[in-house]
């Protein structure tokens, strides 16, 4: 299949390479051509040109505004993609923005799936991402072989936007768990107890979690180099709180965690790992 890919950052690059390795004809577009260095993939001049040459286009970009520009902007995908082709947006953006882009593309007969992922850089490299898809079930069935190249657990959550809602829920739980792990580590250390032993002890019990395993280990090792840059979680928390506000749903824990993320950003740790929430507590 002819597959386009936009957004070749730490997540997008291994994803594009998996598609290539599976035998697909992968082409790319990048806002900054230097991000294509070392990638042996044909590059298009504009998103529209890329869209015109592909059956399916993936996007993996940071913000709602950037996805909207790439999809709907002056030289956006909408001006190139043929009716019947599919945009798969793996970025984490607001559900509202995802629905809006899908509606605009649908007017031209172009299908869209919001398909945000969880699993981080390692999950992208290992092709073990969890993929939460929103959009038409038939469209998902058509492109499922492509998604199978990227992840293990692919769930059709519901119509357009539903994938982003699921991702927002994922981020709420995950970052709150990181905060909980940080508080536990902080309490252990302040009580004169070895954090590493506590983390080990907890791994066998009811508090065991992936976050405690991975982020907890980073806290024990005081290794704050990014796995996932905290600024991305901070951005996602903005989306979560906005969605909660629109729904009129109180999220008291999420908002408390969001304040710790704000403090983290103020310390200049946005490009470090979110395990840095421990360092915020140590300052308080």
């Amino acid at each position: 299949m002819k597959v386009g890919f936009i957004g070749l950052g730490v997540m997008g690059r291994p994803m594009a390479l998996h598609l290539k390795a599976a035998g697909h004809d992968v082409r790319v577009w990048a806002r900054r051509p230097e991000t294509l260095a070392g990638l042996d993939l044909p590059a298009a001049e504009t998103p529209a040109a890329l869209g015109a040459a592909c059956d399916v286009v993936f996007t993996m970009i940071t913000s709602s505004a950037d996805v909207e520009t790439v999809a709907l902007g002056e030289h956006g995908l909408i001006h190139g993609m043929a009716p019947g082709s599919v945009l798969i947006d793996c970025s984490t953006i607001s559900p509202e923005s995802a629905r809006n882009i899908a509606a605009k593309l649908a007017e031209k007969g172009i299908a869209m799936l919001d398909a945000p992922v969880s699993g981080g850089v390692q999950g992208a490299i290992d092709a073990t991402l969890a993929i939460m898809a929103g959009g038409d079930a038939g469209v998902l069935a058509r492109v499922r072989p492509l998604l199978d190249c990227l992840g293990r657990r692919i769930v059709h959550v519901g119509p357009n936007g539903a994938g982003q809602v699921a991702k927002a829920c994922n981020q709420m739980i995950m970052v709150a768990a990181i905060q909980a792990a940080a508080e536990a580590m902080r309490l252990a250390a302040a009580s004169g107890v070895d954090c590493g032993k506590v983390q080990q002890a907890l791994a066998g019990g009811s508090a065991a979690s992936r976050v405690l395993e991975v982020m907890g280990q980073r806290m024990v090792d005081r290794n704050f180099a990014a796995g996932i840059e905290a600024r991305l979680h901070h951005k996602d928390y903005g989306l979560v709180l906005e969605a909660a506000r629109r729904a009129g749903v109180p999220v008291p824990l999420t908002t408390a965690v969001a304040q710790q993320l704000n403090a983290l950003m103020a310390q200049g740790w946005g490009r470090d790992d979110t395990a840095s929430l421990l360092r915020v507590l140590e300052q308080q």
Binding site: L241, P250, T255, A256, A258, Q260, A266
Partner: protein
């Protein structure tokens, strides 16, 4: 002074009336033509557009709902091309939005002030609003005679956006203040103590505040008629929390308070006064008998 006034809602109408009472020549515009009638009866003239409301004026004031409305009406005002015009927005919007509107108007040769108010409908009618202004000292000096008709405590806080920063700070204090009084009352009742006596006792000490006095009394009376609607306080606290997100600012108290008001809007209490947060607390704490 020749003044244009845009936005004649609960706040804007009495403010414009006070300008007329102060002897100013007032021209009005409102999205819904019928809301202009009380002002026309009182001697104002009507404009057909936001551009017309500005033509031949020295000062134009807006009092509308949200930032996109302010941007839109101010674009109309600027399009009139009136030389040396001062434009004042008295709505509550985000500081960043106010700065951006100010910059856009400066490019069009209009001197812009953000001058949000505190004091509610009562203060607007009585002409006793607190007015917190951001922008140039020259524009503030020119707007001051108009401010004096509408408010009492009038402060030039700083540069463009500073008025909205002060207003956001005001909403932090009032939002948490209302929640604090409501929590104190729920605490007293659940302990089997008469909350009205608690209020009385507290009024003499360091916990004294206008909110304890006025909002507290309305809570005792279970008078939840607005006043200041819950959804508006939610909107204002959202401005606070968005700004905190953008700046990297840790505001745990405001964040928790904002979620209570979020819950108010989500549970159909949005049109009630923000003191109805008391009912939500009573419900959560199993004081359902009181929570009516």
């Amino acid at each position: 002074m020749k003044i244009g006034f845009i936005g004649l809602g609960i706040m804007g109408r009495p403010m414009a009336l006070n300008l007329l009472k102060g002897g100013h020549d007032v021209r009005v515009w409102a999205r819904r033509a019928e809301s202009m009638q009380p002002l026309l009866n009182a001697g104002a003239t009507a404009a057909a557009s936001t551009a017309e409301v500005a033509s031949d004026r020295e000062l134009v004031i807006s009092m509308v709902a949200d930032a996109p409305d302010v941007a839109e009406v101010m674009r109309g005002v600027a399009s009139a091309g009136v030389p040396c015009l001062v434009a004042v927005d008295m709505s509550t919007i985000a500081p960043a939005a106010a700065r951006s509107i100010g910059a856009e108007l400066a490019d069009a040769g209009v001197d812009f002030l953000d001058a949000p108010v505190s004091g509610g409908e009562v203060g607007a009618i009585a002409g006793t609003l607190s007015i917190m202004a951001g922008g140039s000292a020259a524009a503030f000096a020119r707007a001051e005679p108009a401010f004096a008709c509408m408010g009492k405590n009038i402060v030039h806080v700083g540069d463009s956006g500073a008025g909205q920063v002060a207003k956001a700070a005001n909403q932090i204090v009032t939002g948490m203040g209302v929640l604090a009084v409501a929590e104190a009352f729920a605490f007293a009742s659940k302990n089997g103590v008469d909350r009205s006596k608690v209020r009385e006792a507290l009024l003499g000490g360091f916990a004294y505040s206008k909110i304890l006095e006025n909002h507290g009394q309305r809570m005792l009376d279970r008078n939840f008629k607005p006043g200041f609607k819950s959804w508006m306080h939610e909107k204002d606290l959202n401005i606070v929390m968005q700004t905190a997100h953008e700046l990297g600012l840790c505001l745990p108290g405001s964040a928790a308070t904002a979620q209570m008001f979020n819950a108010m809007v989500g549970s159909a209490h949005g049109e009630e006064d923000s003191i109805a947060v008391l009912k939500l607390l009573e419900l959560l704490s199993g004081q359902a008998d009181a929570a009516k």
